[in-house]
């Protein structure tokens, strides 16, 4: 991640304290849920060379039910297709669990958004169809997701749920496209040593009218 992107993350992180968390706190429930995980993080001098496992630096905290629901939602966002596997097949649930369990400010702000969002999905599914979200058929799941997949079009009472969906989709996509399968899906061919660097192919420049 370059400096620019990092600063954007940092600024974004400091800009928006979610209204939802305040609302939840005022409503007086979910306090255990909202409590930030206690862990020191990976410190300021971690080993950068050895690959790390999810859960190595802080415990993962999602329950089995939450992980099941997370997998279902991740795969609704990124299903398997002819090019690549589904999100859950490349470990996206572990990534999301690691994210919401992390001791850092951005992740601690995202935690209640994700956990309350998952709960909202089940409550909405139960209200509309009489069973939990993970147990709905594809049509039922889509019926709910369609109401929250675009924050700009979501009904006012579903704004927070739409915010959750946007965050969850970002996390799912970020985890998926960080994986080897996700990189391959995008046709990424970098990160290999080359003897020389040839830049833009001339025939492509001609096709794009840039030569």
């Amino acid at each position: 991640m370059d400096r620019r992107t990092t600063i954007k993350w940092m600024l974004a992180a400091s800009a928006a304290w979610p209204a939802w968390q305040q609302a939840m706190a005022q409503a007086g429930h979910g306090t255990a849920l909202l409590r930030p995980p206690a862990a020191p993080g990976y410190g300021t001098d971690p080993d950068l060379v050895t690959p790390h496992r999810r859960g190595e630096f802080w415990p993962l905290t999602l329950s089995a039910a939450q992980r099941r629901l997370a997998a279902v939602l991740s795969d609704l966002i990124i299903p398997a297709d002819a090019h690549s596997p589904s999100a859950s097949a490349v470990g996206v649930v572990d990534f999301i669990d690691e994210w919401v369990s992390a001791p850092y400010p951005t992740q601690q702000r995202d935690r209640p958004t994700v956990l309350e969002g998952l709960r909202w999905l089940d409550e909405e599914a139960t209200r509309r169809f009489g069973k939990g979200f993970a147990d709905l058929d594809a049509a039922g799941q889509a019926a709910i997701c369609d109401t929250i997949c675009d924050a700009a079009r979501a009904a006012p009472e579903r704004r927070e749920a739409a915010r959750f969906f946007a965050l969850y989709r970002d996390l799912t996509a970020g985890a998926f496209y960080s994986s080897p399968a996700g990189r391959a899906d995008l046709g990424y061919i970098g990160n290999v040593p080359l003897k020389s660097f040839e830049g833009a192919p001339p025939e492509l420049l001609r096709r794009l009218n840039l030569s």
Partner: protein, 599 residues
């Protein structure tokens, strides 16, 4: 005798250099290669880029996909060790948390300092940049001119390796033949940006970065750098032969284990150590310059971080190269009967005139770049091209509403996917998910272009640091308190950046995302661009400056400051190359005075 513990330091050093980054590395290199015995004191730990650099590690191997956290602000794989805008146990004080008035102070506690992770953009200041007050009546002139520093820019480019080209543009100096390495070839988005920008009258030329696009000339360069010094030539030639050229992969911000880019740890320190003249003590937190009864510096006091013991080191000359604010802090904390307000501070200007770079970013999406075939666009990690400031005439005629310029750094292409990939696409996708979302991500991947303005800030009376009266760090050393204020010259410049970047993206047929017309909101907070300079500015008048043009403090003849603290202005050009050129020139001066027994 290279790395020595606090206990095993020798007693007969010519020069103590505090800090091991661009300034400290360059100062020590120049001194040692010409025979001076140097003790370098670094507050952070020893760092070995050859074995510690994560070269080909991918985001899935890092916690949280490697995104930035307070413990690793530029991401997990960033080279920085024990650093960031917050360093545990080493606080500083902000007088406000407001966007426009805050200053965040970046530090890296490691051998080589910030040079391990920096952007490697290496631009020469132009002739105007040394005489800004003479041009527009604002800020301060330098007590030297471009012609004084030009030979040292040549030397630094020959030593560290900088790619780029000489285009003959206004206030954008050419380098003499043989100084620059060839620039990397542009990628598709570079061509698209250049075409649109040129239609708007905005130049686009090859960038300048400290990356070896081919091996350095180990026959010619050492001779040009150390004429008549066969020993130095031999050491440098051997070292240059051991630096590999870029392998066109892996982000430079992680550092480079094959030494293809400039880090103090891979370029300055190895030959200086090979000279046998350099001792380095890491984990040595210097907090005070000691003063003798004759008004000369006798050495420094430091805390050995491994034992907590306080210790003194002595030498004939003391050079501060600890970073602009840390050097100012050291002076302000070095109080004596002779200097009750801090050492070398008879002018009252220590800590004054802090500057950062004006920064503002816009990105956009360009349909022309959608769904391109797979391309390896890593190059030398971006910045194949850039835009130098181009509106000198309009500015001088008063048409812009702000007095100083900016350059544009831009990027795009099919870079390594990571935790930001596919995020925040609703404005383009209408909120797709499922199979359509996967198609959308494929379509948009590689079609974004990013523009960053990097502009000049004019020094002002309200941007400064001082010692906080009560807060101390974990060793009991008093800490800095920062005051910060932008002027309209900076905020209007930031608004101009936003408009310009949006214009370029639209001229590409693209859509800019989030353009901010209010410059006060568009400008990045102070310290965020990490180009802070000033705090002990050089000048021609001892009453209003801290050092002379040789980085020698007016008050203490054997005390020098060779880092960004001495900058009396902060041109839009990224400061590191100039820091090194100024440090080399100062080190040459120190050598001359040492030879004449004047120090």
């Amino acid at each position: 005798m290279p790395f020595v513990t606090a206990k095993s330091q020798q007693s007969a050093y010519d020069v103590i250099v505090v800090g091991s980054g661009a300034a400290g590395g360059q100062t020590a290199y120049t001194l040692c290669m010409e025979g001076a015995r140097v003790l370098m004191l670094e507050a952070g730990r020893r760092y070995r880029p050859e074995s510690e650099t994560p070269m080909f590690q991918t985001p899935d191997m890092a916690p949280l996909g490697g995104v930035g956290t307070p413990q690793k602000p530029f991401g997990f794989y960033d080279a920085t060790v024990d650093g960031g805008w917050e360093v545990p146990g080493e606080p500083y004080v902000r007088t406000t948390e407001d966007h426009g008035g805050r200053f965040d102070w970046w530090r890296a506690r490691m051998l080589g300092g910030r040079t391990n992770h920096w952007g490697r953009i290496s631009l020469r200041n132009g002739p105007y940049d040394f005489k800004p007050r003479s041009r527009d009546g604002l800020g301060f002139d330098w007590p030297l001119g471009y012609e004084d520093l030009a030979p040292y820019y040549d030397k630094v480019e020959l030593l560290i390796g900088v790619y780029g080209s000489s285009e003959g543009l206004e206030n954008t100096p050419n380098s003499p033949p043989g100084c620059l390495l060839p620039p990397p070839k542009p990628i598709v988005s570079d061509y698209a940006i250049a075409k649109a920008a040129r239609r708007l009258g905005i130049p686009v030329i090859p960038g300048h970065r400290a990356v070896l696009t081919r091996a350095l000339d180990h026959t010619s360069n050492p001779r040009r750098l150390h004429p008549g010094n066969a020993g130095a030539q031999r050491i440098l030639a051997a070292d240059m032969r051991s630096r590999a050229p870029c392998l066109w992969a892996t982000p430079c911000g992680r550092g480079c284990s094959i030494r293809a880019n400039y880090q103090s740890t891979t370029v300055h320190l190895p030959p200086a150590l090979a000279s046998g003249k350099l001792d380095i003590t890491t984990d040595a937190m210097v907090y005070e310059v000691t003063l003798g009864p004759d008004g000369h510096a006798t050495g420094v006091n430091f805390v050995d971080r491994t034992t907590g013991r306080h210790q003194h080191a002595s030498a004939r000359v003391v050079v501060l190269a600890a970073s602009a604010c840390e050097s100012a802090r050291l002076l302000l904390n070095s109080k004596s009967a002779q200097f009750p307000d801090g050492l070398a501070n008879s002018s009252g200007k220590v800590g004054r005139y802090l500057m950062d770079t004006v920064g503002s970013d816009v990105y956009g999406q360009v349909p022309l770049l959608e769904s391109l075939p797979p391309l390896n666009e890593e190059g030398a990690d971006g910045h194949q091209m850039y835009t130098p400031w181009w509106l000198y005439r309009e500015q001088l005629a008063g048409k812009l509403g702000f007095a100083r310029g900016y350059h544009i750094e831009f990027g795009g292409g099919q870079r390594m996917p990571g935790p930001g990939t596919g995020a925040g696409l609703e404005w383009l996708t209408g909120g797709s998910y499922g199979a359509r979302f996967k198609e959308d991500v494929r379509r948009f991947y590689g079609s974004f272009v990013y523009f960053s303005g990097r502009g000049e800030m004019i020094p002002n009376e309200n941007s400064y640091c001082e010692i906080d009266p009560s807060v101390k760090d974990k060793w009991g050393i008093p800490v800095l308190r920062f005051h910060w204020q932008w002027s309209e010259h900076e905020t209007r410049q930031a608004a101009h950046m936003q408009r310009t970047f949006a214009d370029i993206i639209e001229a590409m047929g693209g859509k800019p995302r989030e353009v901010q017309s209010d410059g006060a909101k568009a400008i990045a907070p102070g310290g965020l661009i990490i180009h802070e300079v000033g705090g002990a500015i050089m000048g021609a008048d001892p009453r209003i400056s801290v050092t002379n043009q040789w980085c020698q403090t007016w008050d203490v003849p054997n005390l020098f400051i060779t880092d960004g603290a001495v900058f009396p202005s902060n041109a839009d050009k990224n400061p590191t190359l100039t820091i090194m050129a100024v440090a080399w020139r100062a080190a040459d001066h120190i050598l001359e005075r040492l030879r004449r027994k004047e120090l």
